[in-house]
Subunit: 402 residues, 2 copies
């Protein structure tokens, strides 16, 4: 590694329910990309390569998107990794910069979705994990049968089954799961970019429509359109352009995919990625020299309330099984040990697959620069982003402001 | 850049007409990946990251594919770039290695297609270049109207119109275009991995069914299933594993995307990518210190006969407009100045989108190692691969055997 990588500019669109705005994916991409470049004070002409993430648009949609910013002829790498797509784009950009291949790379992610649960285009969809013979799909079936749960593919059911397993194994309660939804909805009230800004009590979260027991609608990420972007540059670029004030260091990052541990135990919790997240966190801590004790603010992948709890455990914020108590204690909201998902998280900010990982990075950059307005986490210096996709990939990124 | 990158192992499946073999994309990927690792003598456990290319399979199909090789939990980056997808995977792998991010990266590409012209899955398709308002689509329409050509999206029509423009502007003949088809079909007779091994005279190529005037079926790449892979490693890895004999150096590589030049002139030839290819070649020459005069063997993107001619000009093998005469002179077959598409090219080897760029690399590695059997180009030391996708991206790669 020849240099550290820095994020010097971020931008995002407001996340929206599909068909709310009359926009195409390139409109979203232009809006987010333009905002990130303006935030960095870097013209598009300085961008040397682009790493573009999306799941449901056609091949070379990344070109169609960046052509809105300029026709400079730069390499465009179109990436997808289900719900971890945005972080995959960020990781590829970061690796090009750290390797000295480019001094300035644009990471851009977007998704124009259809209405309905994780509504995609025609292409596979987020719960398509490689056909019924894939190790992932096979094990979902086996585990669900072993626990007497429904064996059905949609993502809500897979995570709902993991929630039931958590309740059985650790005594986690429906109230604790609902507390995640209530917290993240409350946080989003201060986020103008969030799809929802409404506040709900734990009782309201519990009383909302059941999607897959025990998960109610207010504990599930909605289907969303939107885009987000980050300008990733080398130390040299920071110095040459006098961007020290804007620059947030990528202190450490790791992506992991499934291992035997995902499937061997027959546990739904393992299959939805707790081991994958734990491994990614361990590597990111090792690479950055930071630990969870150094972290002030976290944006994590609360696609469903249960996954926020599983991720507390994977990141080392509490012992295995203790996450329900942790959220109930207030340790993960303002005034607590960490603020988790100040943006509202996927549950209330929304979840356009290709954009989510980059929107997490945007939120952390604003937090670490002290620019997060009413949702500012006081004195935040180190942020952690966690983004996961079934199929599968977990990305953990540590960001630090000097 | 901290190190040079080397290809130490390559593999591919036979390319097949869709539905010929009863296989899924992960079967193809396992076959090509296993072959590449065996060729390198490197166990999958040594692979640190994977760059996986495909256009029509679902998100995280790359994981589904590499899980067939092992469940080691490495980062997987799923890439697409229309017909240049395979080279995009190779480029990402190469950049990770050259930057010192990883010492061993697997580049893997595959496509399981449907029958019919460039038959894809449900997703966009190769001729989907971002909707009717995209600069690409808009300009195809304008240009086609200006020339009195049909304004219709399928790829064959776009390239057919470029062929007619080449005939009008430079006096290129239908016989010269057919000579490309005849040459590449002849070459493939010696390639057991090619979809076709049949030999056709120029007259037979001319007499074949017209796809879009002047292009006949024997001048068009077929729809194909298949996979290809390359193991890309650092200089240190080559030395530590004693792979000097297997190692082929990536001497220079570049990807370009569209610029104003693609559209400003109103030329079909420009819109299908001659300027993009020329720019990529120029950069690859500059980065490698090599020129076309150093090249012995070329694998280029003959999706249609006309594109082989356009690429001769883009690579500097002849003056603009002189490519028809060049192929007719025999300069681009055995006994000529270069051997172009010894594998049979896309026209006769087949064109599974995600695999094509990596199959080109495989052919060149075999040629440069002297392992190409009956189709060996005598004394080949330097090879050039050219892969292009509408939408768009052109990748030129120079490979050298010490």
């Amino acid at each position: 590694m020849t240099t550290k990588a820095y994020v010097v500019g971020v931008g995002m669109t407001k996340f929206e329910k599909p068909e709310t705005r009359d926009w195409q994916y390139w409109d979203m991409a232009r809006e987010a990309g333009t905002a990130a470049l303006a935030d960095a004070g870097v013209p598009y002409a300085r961008v040397e390569q682009a790493a573009v993430g999306y799941c449901f648009q056609p091949s070379t949609a990344g070109q169609r998107a960046v052509y809105e910013l300029g026709l400079t002829g730069i390499p465009v790498h179109n990436l997808n990794n289900n719900c971890a797509t945005g972080s995959t784009a960020l990781m590829v950009a970061r690796q090009f910069v750290e390797g000295g291949i480019a001094d300035c790379v644009l990471a851009l992610g977007f998704e124009k979705m259809s209405r309905g649960p994780l509504g995609g285009g025609a292409r596979g969809g987020a719960a398509d994990v490689g056909g019924s013979t894939s190790p992932v799909a096979r094990h979902y079936g086996i585990m669900a049968a072993a626990h007497g749960f429904e064996a059905s593919p949609p993502t809500a059911q897979i995570f709902g089954n993991a929630a039931r397993e958590h309740m059985e194994r650790y005594g986690t309660t429906e109230v604790q799961l609902a507390a995640v939804g209530a917290k993240n909805h409350r946080h989003s009230a201060n986020n103008p970019n969030a799809q929802f800004q409404d506040v709900h009590t734990v009782d309201e979260v519990l009383a909302a429509k059941t999607v897959h027991r025990p998960l109610t609608k207010l504990q599930c990420s909605p289907t969303s359109d939107g885009a987000a972007a980050a300008v990733v540059v080398s130390e040299r670029f920071v110095t040459e352009h006098g961007l020290q004030d804007r620059a947030v260091e990528v202190a450490g990052q790791a992506m992991t995919t499934d291992t035997e541990e995902s499937f061997a135990s027959g546990s739904c919790i393992d299959a939805v990625g707790r081991p994958m997240s734990r491994a990614a966190a361990r590597l990111a801590y090792e690479r950055s020299g930071l630990g969870i004790e150094d972290v002030d603010v976290v944006e994590l992948h609360d696609c469903f309330s249960v996954n926020e709890l599983l991720t507390y455990e994977a990141l080392g914020m509490c012992e295995e099984g203790a996450s329900g108590k942790l959220v109930e204690s207030g340790a993960t909201t303002y005034g607590g040990r960490w603020v988790v998902n100040p943006s509202g998280g996927l549950i209330s900010k929304g979840h356009p697959l290709g954009a989510t990982g980059l929107a997490q990075a945007a939120e952390l950059v604003w937090q670490l620069r002290g620019e997060a307005g009413a949702r500012q986490v006081a004195g935040a210096r180190v942020g952690l982003a966690h983004n996961i996709g079934l199929g599968g990939a977990a990305v953990v990124t540590l960001l630090r402001k000097a």
